[in-house]
C-alpha cells in the first residue's frame, strides 16, 4: 500500500465526516475519559495522521517526559505504517520527525500565558508552521473556563486547531443523560468538538457528544482497538 492510500483509508476520515469536515481552524476539540482508557493514544493517532499529510504538529505535554511521548509516536507510527514497504517507512519516519515538535511544561510552574508565549515563539521564530496543536495533560478540573478561553483565542489568532485530552476524575456517574461529562460542563462554551471514550467489553467506544454548533451530534462509528491502540471501526 502506498502512503496516499493509507491516508485515504484512515478511520480518521470517518471522524472528519462525522464532525462535518474536521475540527477546523480556531477550534478546540477535547477527548475525555477516565485515566488509562486511551486518550493519549487517540491524540497521537490524530497527530500522526496530520504528520502523514505533511502537516506540522506541536505536541504540548503537561505530564509525560519527552522520551515517553516519543515512544508513543514510535508505537503508533509502527502500527499505522505496518502495511507500507520498508523503504518508504524509513523515509516517512524521517519526514514525520521533521514536522513534529514536542513542548513539555510543568503545569505547577507554568501559566497558560507562558505556554502560549512559547508556542507563538516556536511558530514565529522557530519558523515552525504548525496547523495542529495537541495538548495532553491539561488540568480541566483545576483550570478556570477563561483559561481554556485563552487557548481558544490563540487558536483563532494563529489559525490552528487544538486537540486536548481531559482526564475525568469525578465519581460515577461521570456523564449526564446526553453523554456530557459533568466535570467539563463549565468549559463547554470553549469546546467545539467533544468526544468521550468509554471502556466497553472488548473495545473502547468513542462517542461524539458535542459537534460544533449542531444540536444533535452524529453517531460516531469508531472505537479504539485495544490491541493496536489505534482508532478503528468496530
Amino acid at each position: 500500500m502506498v502512503k496516499d492510500e493509507l491516508i485515504h483509508r484512515s478511520p480518521l476520515r470517518i471522524l472528519e465526516q462525522s464532525i462535518h469536515g474536521g475540527l477546523g481552524k480556531g477550534n478546540i476539540g477535547v477527548l475525555a475519559s477516565r485515566k488509562g482508557v486511551g486518550k493519549t493514544a487517540c491524540l497521537v493517532h490524530i497527530a500522526t495522521d496530520k504528520l502523514f499529510q505533511q502537516k506540522p504538529v506541536i505536541h504540548v505535554s503537561y505530564s509525560s517526559r519527552v522520551d515517553h511521548i516519543m515512544t508513543w509516536y514510535e508505537d503508533i507510527f509502527r502500527e499505522i505504517a505496518r502495511s507500507l514497504n520498508q523503504e518508504s517507512i524509513s523515509d516517512l519516519h524521517d519526514e514525520i520527525i521533521k514536522n513534529r515538535v514536542i513542548m513539555n511544561f510543568k503545569q505547577d510552574g507554568t501559566k497558560t500565558e507562558q505556554v502560549l508565549r512559547s508556542l507563538e515563539a516556536m511558530i514565529q521564530y522557530g519558523k515552525f508552521a504548525a496547523e495542529t496543536i495537541i495538548v495532553d495533560g491539561y488540568n480541566f478540573v483545576q483550570s478556570a473556563p477563561e483559561d481554556l478561553g485563552k487557548f481558544k483565542d490563540f487558536a483563532a489568532k494563529m489559525g490552528l486547531e487544538v486537540w486536548f485530552s481531559a482526564s475525568l476524575k469525578a465519581e460515577d456517574p461521570l456523564f449526564d443523560e446526553r453523554g456530557l461529562p459533568h466535570e467539563l460542563k463549565r468549559h463547554l462554551d470553549n469546546i467545539d468538538v467533544l468526544i468521550t471514550l468509554r471502556s466497553m467489553e472488548n473495545l473502547v467506544q468513542l462517542r461524539l457528544v458535542k459537534d460544533h454548533d449542531y444540536p444533535s451530534p452524529d453517531e460516531l462509528r469508531l472505537g479504539l482497538d485495544p490491541g493496536t491502540l489505534l482508532i478503528a471501526e468496530p
Binding site: 512559547s118 515563539a121 515552525f128
Partner: protein, 696 residues
Amino acid sequence: MKTDLTKLRNIGISAHIDSGKTTLTERILFYCKKIHRMHEVKGKDGVGATMDSMDLEKERGITISSAATNVSWLDHEINIIDTPGHVDFTIEVERSLRVLDGAVLVLCSVGGVQSQTITVDRQLKRYQVPWIAFINKLDRVGADPYKVKNQLREKLGHNAVLTQIPIGVEDKHQGIVDLIALKAVYFDGPQGENVRIEEIPADLKPEAAKRRAEMLDAVSLFSDELTEAVLEGRETQEQIVAAIRKGTIARELTPVFMGTAYKNKGVQPLLDAVVRYLPNPAEVENFAFDLDSSEKRIKLSSDPKADPVALAFKLEDGPYGQLTYIRVYQGEIRKGEELVNTRSRQKLRVGRLIRMHADSMADIEEASSGDIAALFGVDCQSGDTFVRAGLNLAMSSIYVPEPVISLAISPAGKKSSDHLSKALKRFTKEDPTFRTYVDPESKQTIIQGMGELHLDVYLERMKREYSVEVETGMPQVAYRESISARADFDYTHKKQTGGAGQFGRVSGFIEPISDKTFEFVNDVKGGRIPREFIPACSKGFQTSMRKGKLIGFPITGVRVTLRDGQSHAVDSSDLAFQAAAQGGFRQAYSQAKPQILEPVMKLSVESPTEFVGNIFGSINQRRGLIISSVEDGLFARVDAEVPLGEMFGYSTVLRSMTQGKAEFTMEFLKYAKVPAQLAEKLIAEHQEKGKKEEAK
C-alpha cells in the same frame, strides 16, 4: 591505615569566578593543617593559592585542572577535588563530577546567583550531586545573605534553608549565629583559628528565633521524629542534623552556611557541615559498564573485599613523570598489586600509591573503595579503568566518537615547535576525543576534536602550559562522501610501454551500506583473478575510499563486490591489481549517485524561559531541527539537531542573545546528507582549490 567509609567524603568546591573559591580552599587546607601559612589568590605574594597548580588557572582565576587534595577534619578524611568551573570541556567536567559524592557551592554575598552559578548548578543536577551552599564575602559592601538565599530558591529552584545567620555584615561582620545549636560563633586569633562559642547577642535573638523556626519548618519534612519533637518543643540537635542530612543527600534540601574566607570567618563550621551533611561513598550508587555484555550497567559494591575497580580520572605531568589520579569504586587497591587496564588490555603493577595535597604527596599502602589516590609511572589515558584480572568492567563507555572538526595549526618559532609535540602527546593521552596528525599533503599539523570550543581550550592550554604559540587556519568540518545507488564497474589496467608490463582487470559493483565504513566481498569464481591478487584488489578499493571525488573527503558506507576479472601470466602483479581496483572504483563512483554528508550535532540549550524565542530563532537560522523544548518553571531546555558547519561562533551569539544566561552542550549525533545548494558550493570550492594547486 584503612579508611572507614563512613568517615570519608569526596567533595568538590564549585563556584562562580571571583566568589572566592580558591581562597576558601586555601583556608580549608590551613585549618586542616595541610599548609602552614596562607596566601592570597592571584599571587600578591608571588606564591598563589595551593590548589591551582596550573599557570592558566593562576592567571585567570579559573580552574581547568582537577587536582585532588586530602585533608582531615573531625576524625574524617575529606578529598577535595578541584572542579572545572565551565562547561565547554565536557570530558574534563564529566570526569571530575563523577568522582564527587557531594559539593559545596560557593556564592558571593553581593553577586549572589550569577550566570556561572546557574551553570554549575545544572552540572551538579545532571550528575545528581548533593550540595550545600556557602555564602562567602560577608565582609564586602552590599553583602546580603538573605537575598542570596532567596535567589537560590527563586533562580535555581532549590529548597534553600539558612542554618546560620550573620552577626553583622560588611565592616561590622563579626561572626555567625548557628541556628541549630542556637549559639553565636566567633573566630579569634590572627588567622581565625580559635573558634569561640558564646550566647547569641540579645539584639539578634528575635531574628535567630524566627529563622530557626523557618529552618525547622523546612527540615522537619524529612523526619517524622523531628516533626513530633518540634510540636512538643523538645527537638534535639541530633534530630535536626539527621533530618538535614537526609534532605541534602536526597537532593531535596540545600542547607546554607556563610562567612568570609578572606577574613577567616565561618570556614570551620562549613567543614563541620561537609562532614555532617554530605554523603559518604557508601551512600552513593555507582555503576560500571560490563564490557562482556554490551556495556550493560552494573551496580558496584563498596565492600572493600570485592574485586577492585578504579577509574583514572586525571593525569598530570610532574617532575617525576606521569601522575595518574584514581578513584577506587570497588574493593581495594594495594601497593604491589597487579591490575589490568580494560581499555588497552595491558597489565600494570601498582608501584607507588600516594595521596596528594596539591603539589606535595604522601605514600600510602592501599586505597580502598571510595578513596582518591594517585599512581606513579602508569602508562594510561585519562578515563581508563583498572580492574583485577578477570573482570571486564569500564567506568566510562569505551566507544570514542570520531572527531568532527579539524584545525590546521603551525607553531610560531623553533621553541614552540619543540614544545608542540610534547603538548599534543599529553593532550591526546588525556582526552581520547582530541586527536592529531600531520597532513601528508600540506605537511601541516592538524588537530581534531568534538567542536570549536573543545579545540579552543587546547589551544589556550598549549599557550599557557607549554608556551606554544600557534597560528591557526579556519576550522574545517569533517565532511564525508557516500554513495546512494548501486553501480557497476569493469576496468582494465594495462601498461605496456617500456620495462615490465602491468595488467589487471576487475569487474563487479559497489553499493551503499548503512552501518559500516567499508566492506569487501570477493565473489570471483573459477580463479579469474588468482587468489594471491585478491588482497591487492581490496587494498586498491580501500585506498580509493580515502578521498572522494566530490570534495576530497573520505568516503564512507560502501560495499564493493568483486565478481570477475582477468589476469596475465607475466604482467599481472599486486601493483597492477591495486591500480585496476582504483580505476574500477573511480568508474563506478560517479555512477553511484555520490553525495556529501555532514556531521549533525545533538544540541541542547539551557536558558531562562524568557529567551526561548531567540533560541528557537537561532536554531532555525542554522538549518536546525527543533526536537523538543522542556520548560520547568524558570528554565527551559531546547533539544535540537543542527549541522556542525552552522555552529561556528554559536557560543558568542548565544551569550549576546541571552545576556550570558544560557549555555549549550553539543555532541556528535550522525552524518546526514547536505542540502543540494550547499553541496554545489562545496564542490565548487573544491574545484577552485584544485585549480589553484595545479597552477602552483
